[in-house]
Symmetry: C2
Subunit: 356 residues, 2 copies
């Protein structure tokens, strides 16, 4: 790795993050959920969605501006469908509501084979991959999507950003087969606005087809990028639309209003969708060569990564490798800049700073 990392004890990290959330008015349960999720992101090397980012998002769109309401209670909307729940999160902190939703979807999948929890009036849950990875480690197939905070992406062949970076996350219970869960998790834009900022800082150009200027014309100059482009042309556009359609069916409103100041009577909240499938509910029980579901998964993955493809990675493998590195180092790994960011947060809430 090109950057130097410092080892931070999870307990110290979690105490700092909890204190920051408690200081902002969140309750103990919410603050613990935020610390746990921050640890999980850091443990898997997801530096774009660690606790620093979470607290930053809370400041810009969350508890400072009314987008997230500390101590909000989730209401379950009555439904006639046994395998499904619909919740009004009342703008509760995303990490706590998303953990609750995936846990409930797992219970539904245990009972019905498949279950879903749809969440209206939500707040940013950060890294969808974290929830489905956790469910996959517990033995389930899990899926989530959410509408992103801001409309930064133009429709395919469009000019004006009316879509979020709308990510999709799938987790598969492959730990027993290959040692870690396969987690397929990405935004539907070619790059994020964070990457555009990075290209500006580094004086680099964008890949072709990743951004458009204010007139909707393609540009590779990050200084001229005013909106992002979906990956894979109409294919990524379709995937991005899915999040908006699901959110619209749940209760989300116009994407261009999301997380913004809005007219009375309108809604600006994102929505989440969680789905969990019990792997037994797919099992037809007739695997070749006397294999079972797990050894069959392993055989199929060996075939895909055989025949000269041995150097290919599986989605989720980098995250699993980072977790091994963390295990070996005996603590979470943060850069000097990240340690400083944490300690600035500590200063604002009187928490113990991180020592390295």
């Amino acid at each position: 790795m090109s950057e130097e990392f410092h080892v931070v004890q999870p307990a110290a990290h979690n105490a700092l993050v909890e204190a920051a959330y408690l200081h902002r008015g969140f309750n103990q349960h919410e603050s613990e959920a935020a610390a746990r999720f921050g640890e999980y992101a850091a443990r898997h090397g997801v530096r774009t969605h660690n606790a620093i980012k979470a607290l930053h998002l809370d400041e810009h769109f969350g508890s400072y501006t009314g987008g997230c309401i500390p101590c909000a209670e989730i209401e379950s909307i009555p439904s006639r469908f046994a395998a499904c729940e619909v919740w009004n999160a009342n703008k509760k902190i995303g990490q706590a509501s998303a953990y609750a939703a995936i846990d409930r979807a797992i219970e539904l999948a245990d009972k019905y084979g498949i279950g879903q929890v749809s969440v209206d009036n939500a707040f940013h849950y950060l890294w969808g991959g974290g929830y489905v990875m956790e469910a996959a480690k517990r033995g389930y197939i899990a899926y989530t999507n959410c509408t992103a905070a801001l409309a930064e992406v133009v429709p395919f062949q469009g000019k004006f950003p009316t879509l979020g970076t709308n990510p999709h996350s799938w987790g598969f219970p492959t730990t027993d087969a290959i040692g870690f869960p396969i987690v397929i998790d990405w935004a539907t834009s070619v790059v994020s606005m964070g990457r555009v900022q990075q290209f500006i800082r580094e004086g680099a150009q964008l890949p072709a087809g990743a951004g458009v200027d204010s007139k909707g014309l393609p540009t590779i100059d990050p200084n001229h990028v005013s909106a992002l482009v979906p990956f894979g042309a109409h294919k990524g556009y379709g995937l991005s639309l899915i999040n908006e359609l699901v959110a619209a069916l749940i209760g989300g409103s116009l994407p261009t209003l999301r997380c913004r100041d809005i007219p009375a009577g309108e809604k600006s909240t994102p929505a989440y969708y969680f789905q969990v499938i019990h792997p037994d509910s797919l099992n037809a029980g007739a695997y070749a060569e006397g294999r079972n579901q797990i050894t069959n998964l392993k055989a199929v993955l060996n075939d895909i990564l055989g025949h000269g493809n041995e150097n290919c990675l599986l989605p989720g493998q980098l995250e699993a490798m980072w977790a091994e590195k963390v295990e070996a180092a005996g603590g979470l790994l943060f850069t000097e800049a990240e340690i400083q960011a944490f300690n600035q947060i500590a200063a604002t809430c009187g928490a113990q700073t991180l020592t390295v």
Copy 2:
């Protein structure tokens, strides 16, 4: 349109297709399903998966070679999960088993809000979009994936084709909102092998990043393409893996054996997965501005395609426009070459030829 099309009465088309399937030993119900699906593909302009293609696939991988068994009976495997079914299709013709599966998934969604049907020992169902479009027209959210017939696609950064073109298809019940169902439906390779053949015929080059040669090196010369590449780098690769993982969990075996001569004890059949969601099961009942689920969908789509994006299309719109053209023409539209292909099929089974 650059090609000239002839108008063919659906009844004449269906009689010919039915006769061809009956001639190959399929029963009346199966032959009707194949004709109905061929009509549906032709009605929506899906020329790559019309009845000519279906009969061609049956010849190469199906009833001529034992990949598909006429008059096979579907067995439902006992499951402890109420919202899920798992079937052994016993290599029954794809159109009939897929119609049965989506119908059953709709019944499960009516009862549980969400339902799934997994199908092992399947045969090619042609165009997944057709099944989810039908479910979407009936008011449901529907999803299907299947493992493709042949391993033609290399993993991301791989050299050897071990993945199928593994398509995904989603349908959304947007007819009441915008006049047609949104259908997101595509293969996970940049292009299909059919397109590579077309580039060879036309003396054209492939887009960059669509194909590799026999050494696994990128090439844009269609004559040198030995395998395809997933769209969107690791993102399309992840989407392609989903089909293999789901199939592996159901009962599918190694992708490189699929639809090929195989060692004893192995399986070479594809697997399908169908999922249907009742839109009421997502409804949190709190739309902005007093909207309901349908008017909210319409408002969200108007926002996405507003602000200068008015010329963008929605997925499924081209198919809906083709269906309008068919309606206006008073019959299905086929090229001269397609009519000739149908009439060659008619000659082999003694069916009435198409007249134009």
